[in-house]
Symmetry: C3
Subunit: 395 residues, 3 copies
């Protein structure tokens, strides 16, 4: 791996517009911009490892808006804010359907007088999570231009209906660490596959985020799911184009075994078909509780037909040398542990448990890197200054 | 406007006892004390605008006690704490009727061992919100005198049954900014008028705060509401006396149109008659849910008789040059936007939308100024020191 | 009392392994280790009194996990974190029965990437609170050893089913302050007695914590309760052994009057028999709401037979010179104030009210001391550095 100094030098050389735009979908960012976030994250992690304070803000708030339950992302975001010197403040609006128009514009400004970052998780309503974030972003732009806000807060997508960029980027940082560099990922086969879970309605943002991002780096990405468990077609199309452009490949299969065959990396995870998510969104909007119950029942029965989509030891044997890297955004549904039958066998999970923790450990640094890249036009110089000052984090 | 240096010089010259008393009602403060808070707020806003850290505390907690829902005030208070270097900690006691006696004394001390500020919002119970704050204040005095507390936290009224001093002072700061100085307000006509809203039970603290404060500066204050929608008589009497003393005027009318006639500033906003608030307080205390429902129904029907109290374009035409400054504490009930028929027409609100955001933007600085004035006997010197040190807020 | 410099010198001379283990039960710590925490707490309190910043962390999170309602402990913990420079972040898992196995391991790691302290309150389930903390501790050890966590957070027991070490240690610090030194406690009689309360199910951790700790310092500890209101037998056995080893005594009586006779200190407080707590734990686990109601009814009736266990003025007259120090962890059930008939008469409580506040005021410093002792192998040197730097807390 590169040294901190080498990373800082690289960061300075990358072409990036991230200080002028919000990082809402990975496929809206250039290759250099993605690398900038990865490299900043790596420097922040190194500095912290060397007991150096990474505060770039002497004061300021970081706002969180969680429109869905969250523990991991909440703590990762809080950690990222803390790394940078911001104090966390939660906007608790409940999980009710999001407001629009004047309410969004006004609230966005009212919470931002002293805010340098706003992180939003909004993944429940297909078609509106990412759109809501853009509405908030536009309100912040207006507030800043009109002199209402003394600064334009960084807007962080903590999971939407389309993408989960902090997760996908943390996963990529982990792959970079594990395989020893971004260039080492070229030609590696990653299997993003559906897996059985005894719950329904798991968001699409993780599989979509993975196929949308991993296809940028020349990887051979295989998407596998039972027939009918489709992701949003537009995102699949983006993955296809990405693969072409990066010199990798993107294929779709309807068999977990086929996807695992010779894979370097496997990512077995449950999700709901996007058609179901559409229907669910309509029912949620209509507050049709009976309809929601019926849909859940129907989907669970449907899921139960595919219990063989299970990442067990036999399945793992099909991977390259039987030793593919298992990934998961956590928490996984572990058969015999967190549920009777789930996404992964206990023995497989246990073998890769620490690896999944390390995968997750990148998230605070990725989020912090996104904020830093949004707020500073020359993040390399800022990191260099932190390193030079070398203020001890623990006395 | 004055420069930061001029403001600091002015602050040093003002006679103030604010470091010895809590700022619970604007009319308990001298003219110099009000100006001190305004000037400190302005300096804090300037320093932040110049990217200078305004922390006066190296550590310490700021406690919040919200006995009613709040987003704007909550974030303003959190922002103020952050500006000064305090960490926010919420005391969540629910909205149940407030405790008294030993419970108050004890809780006040238990939460304050490391607290430098306590902000309380308690506006639901007519006759007890402000009284509760004084009870807390007395407990803090005792705790400090007896050596339980190493410091006496600043007590901040974040809205009570009588006054809303952080709102009224932020409104005044905005008027000062908008018109170019406190002295420019002399002779300006401000119309504080009731407006129709499809909700009931909105607190009296804003209109009372406005007539109690704006009458201190030689303004011509007109209070307008339909017959029966009276504010607390004692507060109206205070406004009357204030106007006399400041060389302004205070009149009451029963017509929105009359109030708007030739006004420089209009503040149309719904509230409930104080007699209704008294009745509601009794019912809340008795936990008489049926009674509360009946009262709400009755009041909404009563309100509906006054839908013509609507700030539309025709109404605005009556103001000075048709261009009076529209004010609101937000959120406003905007006809056709946040409700079918409300306080203000969409076109009027849209014209002044950014202005109302700027009005609101003063609140964090006003609250921070109140804390600073309470904790330092020579706030001018402290601000001077911040300016001299000039620590960068964003690296 | 010793000066700050003397205390720092003493701290440096004490033999302590606290930086290598969690402080989960007072009786697992050596006499030197207990003193180290007391002395660090005292230095922190002194430094703060001298307006000196006590931050030893330049950034970092402190996590709180409250599995039971809490105001006092919550604020003490938040204060402790703030004293040391950590930002508080709450993990809200509800009060549901605690998870085990993979869920605990995973969650412990997921919240700790940037955490330097984790405080847990888990006192509802007899037999599992302390065990849960050890499970978390083991997960943190593994995460740190495996390179998942860049640091091992200090684990703080904010009350479990067995002990309440932050309370007991704060109580001890108060006794040390009140009587002028740990050595002055030798031979003092302390009466830890049950008292009537109109509520049931109060945890055993306070009385158990008191008899487990005070027997370490040569005190004459008397435990008194009505027949059947037994504490956990293992803890009573520990107290007995402690007394023997420290040259003090430990006796049990079934009369409040007997316990108060000649006492220097009295600690009258309600609790539920451990057999009841066992039964309650089973019912809570089974979510047997009817059973819980029946148990409560039965216990309240049982309690009501012992209303004479009341700390009134007549009872206080029996103590040494009628002037024993009254202690309570607060809130006390005060007869005629917070309930009709309770643990203590109003006149007695009022006489010692400020004393109980001072007792409580030690808790933030004790918690901070525990974190500091866990994170630094040479806490004396760290405190010395803070003193030397002398950064002003309030400008």
């Amino acid at each position: 791996m590169k040294t901190t100094n080498e990373l800082i030098k690289t960061i300075k050389g990358l072409k990036s517009d991230l200080h002028r735009k919000d990082f809402l979908l990975t496929w809206e960012q250039s290759r250099d911009e993605l690398q900038q976030v990865l490299d900043i994250a790596q420097v922040l992690k190194c500095l912290r490892g060397e007991n150096i304070v990474t505060k770039v803000f002497g004061s300021g708030l970081g706002i969180s808006v969680f429109r869905d339950n969250s523990t991991r992302t909440r703590f990762s975001y809080a950690s990222a804010l803390n790394l940078l010197g911001l104090a966390q403040q939660d906007l608790d609006e409940g999980k009710s359907q999001i407001a629009h128009g004047e309410t969004v514009r006004e609230t966005a400004n009212m919470i931002s007088f002293c805010a340098d970052a706003i992180g939003i998780r909004d993944d429940m309503f297909l078609g509106s999570g990412n759109a809501y974030m853009r509405e908030v972003g536009a309100a912040l732009d207006e507030g800043f231009e009109q002199g209402v806000l003394p600064q334009r807060p960084a807007l962080i997508n903590l999971q939407c209906d389309i993408d989960h960029p902090t997760q996908a980027m943390a996963d990529l940082a982990w792959l970079e660490e594990h395989f020893g560099g971004l260039d080492k990922l070229k030609g590696k086969k990653i299997a993003m596959t559906w897996a059985y879970s005894p719950s329904y309605g798991k968001p699409l943002s993780v599989p979509q985020g993975i196929i949308g991002l991993m296809t940028r780096f020349g990887m051979d990405v295989t998407l596998a799911h039972p027939e009918g468990y489709d992701l949003i077609p537009e995102v699949v199309e983006i993955a296809r184009k990405n693969a072409k452009n990066s010199g990798g490949s993107f294929i779709q299969v309807n068999s977990m075994a086929e996807a695992f065959e010779g894979a370097d990396i496997v990512y077995p995870k449950s999700w709901a078909p996007y058609k179901v998510m559409e229907k669910r969104t309509e029912l949620l909007r209509a507050e049709d509780h009976e309809g929601l119950k019926a849909l859940e029942k129907e989907c669970l029965a449907q899921n139960a037909l595919h219990k063989d989509w299970h990442c067990d030891e036999a399945m793992m044997k099909k991977t390259k040398g039987g030793e593919a890297l298992y990934m998961h955004c956590l928490p996984a549904d572990i058969s015999g542990v967190s549920c009777k039958e789930g996404e992964v066998a206990e023995a497989v999970f246990e073998k890769y448990r620490i690896a999944t923790y390390k995968e997750a450990s990148w998230k605070p640094y990725i989020i912090a890197a996104m904020i830093l890249a949004r707020k500073f036009s020359n993040p390399g110089a800022v990191l260099e200054q932190l390193q030079k000052e070398g203020e001890k984090r623990i006395k």
